[in-house]
Amino acid sequence: MSEATHAPRRTLAERLRSNPVTLKELRGRMRGARAFVVLTLYVVLISGFTSLLYLTYSTSTGLVASSSGSVIGKIIFGGVLGFQLFLVTFIAPSFTAGSISGERERQTFDLLRTTLLPARSVVMGKLGSALSYILLLLIAAVPLQSLAFLMGGVVIEEVALSLIMLLVTAITFSTAGVFFSSLTRRTLVASVLTYSFALVATIGLPLLALIFIPVLEMSFYDINSPVLEAILIYAGGFLVTTNPILTVIFTEIVLQEENTILFFDVNLSSSSGSIPLVSPWIVYVLFYVILTVVMLASSVRLVKKPEK
């Protein structure tokens, strides 16, 4: 029997630790003052933002009474979450946009490709190291998020969902950076493409939803078709769920109004019937996971492919 058959199955964490690319990247990232300066700046910024939220609210209401504690708790929680979503959407890609193209520019890509390291290890190592640092930034903000628990107003479902949303967003946008980096030879081009992707996902598609759905609704106002109305609701809902911040807002609305984080029904205005819907975060997670898998597989293929 081969040695490989006896080898114990390694966990994802063990595989990441034993990946030389992950170790090299982390070593490089954490060497010197830069990583710690970024971390400090990040904590200072997010603390300032949270303090500003608190002060703005307490000034506008005059005092923080026990009845309004839950409101301010929710505001702080939402504010910190929004800040973190912004971070993972626009800062995470900067950690990965130069991951593969940087190797090409440094002329070390050929050296890696002639070793026994599989292409998937190169891709996963780059992604893993970037995500580790992003995770560190997210964890650093936990004490600020926990302020919301002191004040109340936040339920466990909201905390769990915010964590899922943050992780999925971080993974997808970091993967986009790796994908565009393996697609192009220049880091500058990869960065432009990655940020274009982030802008389309966060602003482009929701803007499209906000513009076209009312136009379509008005165009088909007289038709009064329940099928058309259902299609418009699904299409609009899907476009909204391509945006992490809108997804969080709509998920919260569904949680507050429908008291669910899974499924609910929506009554149609064109008929007496209703259509089933899922909470936006589910569509978001599914869509982004599929996108991530496609981009990861493409990145591995691009890294593996010999030059033609």
């Binding site: 090299k24 490089g28 050929d110 010999p306 030059e307």
Partner: protein, 316 residues
């Protein structure tokens, strides 16, 4: 000796440009093979195909019996590749650089410290173990790259212009290292356009021009084939005319020429065909006639002459 690197009708086209054309070569195990040609001749394209980095347009290549196209992993295990640029991570320590590549070749973590110590000793960089890579000189970086290629103890080293851009001392150090590695049983396939480097250490050469292999083989055989005549210089204390008579009556002497005298000594340059026996006969004839020969030297046939005779100066 068995063939360890082989290509058959290897062709690489980039659009209209043919970089490598029907290239067939064989390198025997243990050889130091100099792959010589002008810039743009197709050396790097050939090496990139052999190292699995480039797909050939047509033809086949094998490394240690493994097909480059079908068994890239086995090929990578058998080779250590050094491209014609440094390819070093500047933000790493010297030992981290070697540790990283050793890990990329699946060398267990516990074995790496000893391996790194040995590799650094081999390339004479032990004293720079803890230094950052970007603090090394050009020659040191090149030696570090060479150490990297040895991390997994490959059978074959494929080195693209290993001495390019180095100062004379660093070039000599690299050359000595290659000889040392050859003694350790490595087959070395390296490209160069510095003929002195190739002539100094190679057992075999292949000359490529405009993507085509012009000639290849054992360096001494090639000298015999491409430069059939030998040139002998003799210096005499006197009896010049008698010496000329001897030369006129000897076989194998194709021509001779009187050179300007130096310190009242006569000098002749003699072109001679044939092997060592012909040279020996000439010397015996001169001595038997009691001619006052004070110097008898054969001009070394250098690689530059072979190269100039083999190539036409075409660049693709």
């Amino acid at each position: 000796m068995s063939v360890i690197i082989e290509t058959k009708n290897l062709t690489k086209r980039y659009g209209q440009l043919t970089a490598v054309k029907d290239l067939t070569l064989q390198v025997e195990e243990g050889a130091i093979y100099g792959f010589v040609g002008p810039n743009g001749a197709g050396k790097t394209s050939t090496m990139r195909i052999l190292t699995t980095l480039l797909t050939p347009t047509s033809g086949e290549a094998w490394i240690a019996g493994h097909s480059v196209a079908k068994e890239p992993r086995a090929v990578r295990r058998a080779i250590g590749y050094m491209p014609d640029f440094f390819g070093v991570y500047e933000d790493m320590k010297v030992w981290e650089y070697l540790d990283f590549f050793a890990a990329c070749y699946d060398i267990p973590e516990r074995e790496r410290p000893a391996l790194i110590t040995d590799l650094l000793a081999l390339v004479d960089l032990s004293h720079r173990h803890e230094d950052m890579v970007d603090s090394l000189s050009r020659g040191m970086k090149q030696r570090l790259c060479l150490a990297r290629t040895l991390a997994h103890d490959p059978q074959i080293l494929i080195l693209d212009e290993p001495a390019s851009g180095l100062d004379p001392r660093a070039r000599i150090e690299i050359r000595e290292l290659l000889v040392e590695l050859s003694k350790l049983g490595k087959t070395i396939f390296f490209s160069s356009h510095i003929l002195a480097d190739v002539a100094e250490i190679c057992t075999d050469i292949g000359i490529i021009e405009a993507g085509e292999m012009v000639t290849q083989g054992n360096i001494e055989e090639m000298q015999r084939l491409l430069i059939p005549h030998r040139t002998i210089f003799i210096t005499l204390l006197g009896k010049l005319e008698e010496t000329k008579d001897v030369l006129l009556n000897m076989e194998n002497i194709s021509e001779f020429e009187e050179l300007p005298a130096e310190n009242s000594r006569h000098r002749l340059r003699i072109s001679l065909t044939g092997g060592d026996e012909a040279v020996s006969r000439l010397l015996s004839a001169l001595v038997e006639r009691g001619l006052p020969v004070v110097n008898f030297t054969e001009e070394e046939r250098d690689l530059e002459e072979i190269f100039m005779r083999a190539t036409k100066g075409i660049v693709s």
